[in-house]
């Protein structure tokens, strides 16, 4: 009974310039999917579109047979890039993870034992129990990234959208974060992360979605992560509304 996220003919614009063109792909849950492509390929744009932050110009996105924007707010958990967070915000790791429960609690709902259990589980999954009382700026980069993943976990969504979660993490922090990510997958969730380090793709993700303005390839890493596909994504200027620098692997 595997669920699937179906992108059907999806076109999204960013700052009024089309960034993702007529993209059709199916992502099976559970899995860890890497969104790959050169800078400006539309990775973040596509994540934001799935999160409902950008409107679709054409096409639709379905999850589990239902249009995503109609299936309630608790299906998708979005984790933004680390740079956009105000780290001096007066909140501890535990307080951050508790925010993940707000959407199901509503404005007045009292924090129940069930919510408490969800928070503790999220902290445990992401190896943060010992740091729960820390203010979020007193964490290392890897811990910060895991704290935000823990909040998404506490939200108990089905789809987890991570924007460049591995950027700036060293090897150990990468491994710790990847472990938390795999635990999400093993719990039956769909994890989609934009990613730019091609060397680590095979060890971190089981599926890839290769973009360059439009879809280049999509499928299990073993099949789709090929020299040929990468060349056509990174070397050929396929489709984009504006010029952008290409990053070569």
């Amino acid at each position: 009974m595997s669920q699937q996220l179906v992108l059907n003919n999806v076109t999204v614009s960013y700052n009024r310039i089309p960034a993702v063109h007529h993209l059709t792909a199916t992502l099976l849950s559970p899995s860890c999917v890497a969104l790959l492509g050169p800078n400006g390929a539309g990775k973040t744009t596509l994540l934001k579109a799935i999160a409902g932050l950008l409107p679709l110009e054409t096409g639709r996105i379905d999850f589990d047979g239902q249009q995503l924007k109609n299936s309630g707010r608790r299906v998708v958990a979005y984790v933004p890039q680390r740079e956009v967070v105000d780290w001096d915000f007066p909140v501890t790791v535990r307080g951050l993870v508790e925010m993940g429960r707000f959407s199901s609690l509503g404005n007045w709902g009292r924090f129940s034992a069930l919510d408490d259990a969800a928070v503790i589980e999220a902290l445990h999954i992401c190896d943060l129990e010992d740091l729960a009382g820390r203010q979020i700026s007193a964490l290392s980069g890897g811990q910060q990234q895991r704290a935000f993943l823990a909040r998404a976990w506490a939200q108990q969504a089905e789809i987890y959208l991570l924007d460049e979660p591995f950027t700036g993490l060293d090897r150990n922090a990468t491994e710790a974060f990847a472990q938390a990510m795999r635990r999400l997958r093993d719990a039956g969730k769909l994890v989609i992360a934009s990613h730019h380090d091609l060397k680590s793709v095979e060890s971190l993700f089981d599926h890839i979605l290769l973009l360059n303005g439009e879809l280049v390839a999509s499928g299990p890493t073993a099949e789709a992560f090929t020299r040929k596909n990468l060349d056509s994504a990174y070397d050929v200027h396929v489709f984009s509304g504006h010029a952008h620098p290409h990053t070569h692997a």
Partner: protein, 304 residues
Amino acid sequence: MNWITEPFSYDFMQRALLACILVGFTNGFLGAYVVVRRLALMADALSHSLLPGLALAAIVVGLSPAGLLFGGLLAAVFVVLGGHLISRSSRVKEETAIAALYIVAFAFGIAIIKYGGVNVSLDHFLFGNILGVGNSDLWTSYCITCVALLLLVAFQRPLFLAIFEASVAKTLGIPVGWLMGLLILLIVLAMVSSLQAVGVLLSLGLLILPAATIYLMSDRFEVMLWGGAGLGTAGAVAGLLLSFWVNIPSGPAIVLILGSVFLLAYLFSPRYGVLRRFFHRRHMHEESLERWKSESPRDTSGEA
């Protein structure tokens, strides 16, 4: 104890005390949002832009609190929306556009007070006059306090999410734009209510100093909200007493007291005070060792 109770044997002082409690509490509570969302400069712009609205209201409907409230709101909305419009439609960035509009509005306000025959001195608007608080002012403050607290407590969770990360809040279906509008509306309301106590120019102090002080002392947002409210109330009452004893205007007295507390927190806060950091520096290696020990068995992401 006579020197404490004596001021409150006067009727006008009892009213002033009540006004200080209401105004201090509301502004202190709301200040947490202003400080954390970095709206202090916006709030400053709002406070200045109240002046022409107040002056116009005073000309048209006289000095009734409701008229002043309406005029002030109108002027503030004009400056905020106008700034937004200018920044959207031209190269000028939003903070410049708002600053340009509010300073022009302020100048306009002074001009019409001086030459439009407003039956009140400019000082009254600029610095307030808490000893002249009337019953209708008290009722206005009371209503504003109730409305502001009710809304802020009711929307505490979505507001918290919206000011922390707008994009995540949007994915949860939270109307971030509306909540920010609500926040600005409440800032204006709180400022109008503190007008009698501290005036247009000093109302900013009542709004941000308590929250900024608690921000230096706590890592919990709820503590900032309620602690700011408590500190705002205490500071306003203490300022009132100071103004009575030393015979200075209440506005400066309140702001000076709150400012002193802020300075103390800046220096001595056990958590984020500069002195603590200064003395702590010697022990950095110990802290690092402790962190290493606490993390190494399970978590090896030691890039801190």
